[in-house]
Structures are given as C-alpha cells and as structure tokens.
C-alpha cells in the first residue's frame, strides 16, 4: 500500500523543496518507486530543483481538471528509474487544488507507487492544508531558529486537527522532524538552538539533522537532488534520514564541528 508523505514547515525558505527532492530521490535510491508532487501552485520550483524544468508539458492542475492523463504529466527522472516528478501549474492560483480532484489523483498514484511525497507550499492557507490533508506521514522541516520552530509547532497542531486521519478519527499522521541548516560550530558557541533544544520544544521524534552545506546550493544550481552527491555531508545526512524513515537505526552524524585538516583549511571546499 502506497504511503503519502507530506514535507511541510509552515515557514518559507527553510528547505522544504530541497528536502522533498532529496527525500524522494533517497527513497528511489533505496529501491522504492516514488513520485514527488509539487503542491506549490503558482510558484512552481520543484521542477528546477529536480532538473526537469524543460520537460514539463502538463501539470497537476491539468490532471485534476481532466485536461491531461496522469501518465502524460508524470516526468520520469533520468538518473533513477524509480523516481518520478509531478510538476504543478505556474499560472493558476492555489484554489485550483480542489480536494476531491487531489484525492482522485492520489488514489490513482497509490496503485503504481510505494511512496508519494508531497512538497507543501509555505503558510497555513489552502495549498498547505491540501498538501497535508491526505498524509499518512509528515516530515516537518525546521531550522534552529525561533520563527521556524514556532511555525513548525503550528503546523504540527494543524496536522493533529485538520488532516483526513484526524477528521476520521484514524491513527494520527506519523509526524517527524528534520532539522535543516544546522551549524554545529554556532551551536557550540551558544549562538544556535541545539538539536536537543528543538526536540524538547516540539516534542516529536527526530528524523535527522542536515548540516548547512555548500553542496545544497551546488545541487540546486545544477538541478540535482543533493543525495546524488555522495561526497556531500548534507546528501549523506538525507540518506540517513531516509533510512530512519524506513525504520532503520542510524547514529546522528554531522552534529559536531568538523575538524578541518590543514589541507582543507588551505584549499577550502567542504
């Protein structure tokens, strides 16, 4: 049975799309047939981050409105056979995401895929609520920063009250946190909330910690999910998070300052 996973945060700019792309690609690398859907109608960006912007013909709204078939809109990733991208519309507004239409499309996707990853828009308006409504699991992307933590708390509350599982009194959405843009050096200097602080404040299980890393910008520059960069600390941290999501035990990595070798110090580049 396919699982619907929403990547959400409330706050914008914390790394939702980067995470949705990396997470979906990570699940595909682990052998699961995965589709990642852009729910950010009007502000399409997943296609760019996934590097398939020139292959978009039909979109999510076309399929909801019956103007295109699902297989016409799905874009198969060129790097991994298990991975598909479902882009959204750039021209419509968020209201075009009708709940019954989304439900129909998700039900159709469930037949073919193991995981359906939904990349939520920022905010707590219609688009974000629609993205989380059908979720079985949620990945809350949080930065170690006050406004992000507060908004995460808000979205956790919404998942507990407004998701379909909540409305139907089913087993609650499984909610886990992914702490991104973590800078261990600043944490050590007392300038940044620690993993433990954020875990204690939000009191939800931790899926992983992604260190702030140059490789994330490099990945989006080139339209490659960061997990395909095997040398990148962020990419490896995402793969750890995917493994934990699949129920495996993994030690936390990249949460203590990296000791720079003299070579690295001189020649830079992490």
């Amino acid at each position: 049975m396919a699982k619907v996973v929403v990547v959400t945060s409330g706050k914008g700019g914390v790394g939702k799309t980067t995470t949705a792309a990396a997470f979906a690609a990570g699940l595909a690398l682990r052998g699961y047939k995965t589709v990642v859907i852009d729910f950010d109608v009007g502000l399409r960006n997943l296609d760019l981050v996934m590097g398939c912007e020139r292959r978009v013909v039909f979109d999510f709204i076309n399929v909801i409105n019956g103007d295109a078939k699902l297989n016409q809109a799905l874009i198969k990733d060129k790097r991994n056979d298990n991975l598909y991208i479902f882009p959204t519309s750039q021209t419509r507004d968020k209201e075009a995401l009708r709940r019954d239409g989304v439900e129909r499309v998700l039900d159709e996707l469930r037949e073919d895929f193991d995981y359906i990853v939904c990349d939520s828009p920022a905010g707590i308006e219609h688009g974000a609520i629609t993205a989380l409504y059908f979720a079985d699991s949620a990945v809350i992307v949080t930065n170690p920063e006050v406004s992000s933590v507060r908004d995460s708390d808000r979205i956790i509350g919404i998942l507990a009250s407004k998701s379909r599982r909540a409305e139907r009194n089913q087993e609650p959405v499984s909610v886990q946190m992914l702490l991104t843009r973590y800078v261990p050096e600043r944490v050590n200097r007392g300038e940044m909330l620690t993993v433990e602080d954020v875990k204690e404040i939000l009191s939800i299980p931790l899926l992983g910690v992604i260190p702030e890393s140059e490789s994330v910008l490099r990945a989006s520059n080139t339209g490659t999910p960061v997990v395909f960069d095997e040398d990148s600390p962020a990419g490896r941290a995402y793969m750890d998070a995917v493994a934990r999501f699949l129920g495996e035990q993994r030690e936390l990595r990249f949460v203590t300052p990296e000791r720079k070798s003299l070579f690295r110090f001189i020649f830079g580049r992490a």
């Binding site: 708390d153 602080d197 404040i201």
Partner: protein
C-alpha cells in the same frame, strides 16, 4: 591585547538560551489557546481582571495551562507577583494574596 584575547577565545554568546526560553513561553501560551477548550482565553482574561483589582500585574504575568494525562485533567494557574506593585488600597502583598484567594473561592465551589 584584549582584542587579541577575544579573537583567540571568543566570548560565549548566550543567545541560543534566550531563544529557547522565549520559545518555551510563547508556545505554552499558543498551545493553550489553540488546543484548549474555548473558554480558556476568557477564563484567563477574567482571572486577570480579578487579580488586577488588587495587584498591578501585566497580562504576561498570569498564565493558565490545562494538562491532560490519561483520565485526569489539571488546570494550572500561575500568577507571578514578585516585583508587582500592590494597589494603594491594599499596600501589603500578603493581604492582596489572601484577597485574591478569597475572590477565587466561589469559583472553586461553583
């Protein structure tokens, strides 16, 4: 010399600790008004009105919290009065305290 020392051993910033405390307080507030029963904000306001008759307190000095664990619910009311000024009519804080307790008494039995 001092600058050199600070460059080698930067002073530890405590801003993360401040962030943690601020978040804890604001989220405790927001969770009550979000998850709690509808009457909690009104109850908080009325309690504040009663207490304010005797002591000058700011709205953030009175906090209420409803905790549910299993079968039992606990309504917790915290009023911070250290440093608060008693109203001139009741100059003594201790006197004000007992006045508030008395004022809350009917609510308890009712």
């Amino acid at each position: 010399m001092r600058r050199l020392f600070e460059m080698l051993f930067p002073p530890r910033s405590e801003s993360a600790a401040i962030a943690r405390e601020r978040l804890k307080i604001v989220l405790a507030h927001e969770r009550v008004s979000r998850d709690g029963p509808d009457f909690l904000p009104a109850l908080q306001q009325e309690l504040l009105d009663v207490v304010s008759r005797y002591i000058e307190i700011r709205p953030d000095m009175l906090r209420i919290n409803l905790d549910k664990s299993g079968e039992t619910s606990l309504l917790e009311i915290n009023v911070e009065i250290d440093g608060a000024k008693a109203k001139s009519a009741t100059p003594d804080i201790a006197e004000a305290k007992s006045a508030i307790v008395a004022a809350l008494e009917p609510a308890k039995s009712g």
